[in-house]
Symmetry: C2
Subunit: 261 residues, 2 copies
């Protein structure tokens, strides 16, 4: 096997209002691209960037059914009819392609391995790009934290097992890219904190981590399973502000996805 890697175009994009990271990945050879966790509000930005980079979107993928923002997948599909939506097979939501454990999502000469990482939601999927030694963890693992487990089929016990068996088992130097830059607090608290100049406490401003870093420094997932469950069961987080609009839309692949006949 050649040690020369297939070139990757990678762009980490940020939606400031919900602190959501979207990832554009494209095969440098064939220009086939995927977007992981696109945000409805940013679809125009993403379409423009795809065009500017000269890449062709084949999949709009989500790591899970989001509760804090509406996915851009439906609107992307409207603009780019060749694009297919991808979700974990246990998500309970609509998608063109459902992926299960160990399946691959191919774009050009590159492939994302799907790892089922439930616990934040049932359908949570981590996408691993082995050739470039990185993984996209969604809300299963955040930098120094993790997604909440108190609604949408959440389970701290299941999440603990998912992260340890599917993410922490990757080689230590693998880079991990999460779906958000925050530590599990919710947007309407943050808005207030903005004006108290306390952003940096809840939005540390990190963009990437590694397996090794999280094994050593994750504030929750370095604990024992029992301690982790206790922490997660006592977070007492408020109801996500945008859940009532986000969840129904995301179960249908975003607001503009056409209703099936």
């Amino acid at each position: 096997m050649s040690s020369v890697k297939n070139p990757l175009i990678l762009r980490q994009l940020f939606h400031k209002e919900t602190s959501t990271y979207t990832y554009l990945l494209a095969c440098g050879n064939t220009k086939e691209a995927v977007l992981i966790d696109p945000v409805l509000d940013c679809v125009e930005r993403d379409l423009k960037l795809l065009q500017e980079l000269g890449v062709h979107l084949v999949y709009g993928m989500n790591t899970h059914v989001h509760a804090d923002h509406i996915t851009g997948t439906g609107k992307l599909k409207e603009a780019l009819p060749d694009c297919k939506s991808v979700l974990g097979s246990k998500s309970g939501a609509r998608a063109d392609v459902y992926v299960a454990q160990d399946e691959n999502v191919k774009f050009g000469n590159l492939a994302l391995e799907c790892r089922s990482t439930p616990g934040h939601t049932n359908g949570c999927t981590t996408y691993v790009l082995h050739e470039h030694e990185m993984a996209f963890t969604g809300d299963a693992l955040l930098i120094r934290g993790c997604g909440r487990t108190d609604f949408q089929q959440g389970s701290p016990s299941v999440l603990f097992e998912s992260v340890h068996s599917q993410i922490f088992s990757l080689p230590k130097h693998y880079k991990l890219y999460p779906a958000h830059d925050y530590k599990g607090v919710i947007f309407h608290i943050i808005l207030l904190l903005l004006f108290l100049s306390m952003w940096h406490f809840f939005f540390p401003g990190f963009s990437v981590t590694t397996v090794e870093e999280e094994l050593a420094h994750n504030t929750r997932l370095t604990k024992t399973k029992e301690e982790f469950i206790k922490i997660m069961d006592n977070l007492n987080l408020p109801y996500p502000k945008r859940l009532d609009e986000s969840l129904p839309a995301n179960l249908m692949c975003g607001v503009t996805d056409p209703v099936p006949s």
Copy 2:
């Protein structure tokens, strides 16, 4: 010459209030590190990250004397007395090490080449890491935009020449990392826009670009020099909100830098 690169640890860090990017670079072999454009408000975060990564800060570098936030260099030096501050020789501000065109800043087995890129300020310096095919452009070049040129020795004509001769002359595939994610608008306008949900217009959420992308898609620097000067002379931007506190502090390497005897 060996084709095996000296490993680089790179972290792009974000200060949300001023949309400033700070870059942590460390030599993966020796663990010597530099911070480019550290922010005073984020020094505790940065110190913690340095410790967690097990790296040793040798330089706190600035691409220029900032007008929108206070540099973290002074406070970093207070916590880490071995760390030296670095600035462009034409900055007119205080630093331990002044760098001029073509000089190198070494950290471990890696080195940043200094390129003088005045126009936003006189002392603006772009730091190029040739071994990893990337450059840190400060405010000289932003993604699809550039820094303002209407105060602090700014000159659109000089900036145009700087970017074209020192940045656009790099190989097309080089990655470019800017000091900010915005398009030249100012913070107190943005605060208002937050509540009008217009973030994405002024904060596109981009984190990296390439020489090739900016040569093709920069909204200002793809114009002729005459057109560029006209654009920059007619921006009519308001006075930076934090200039009155930032500039005097940054001329002294950050508020906590001791006064020389």
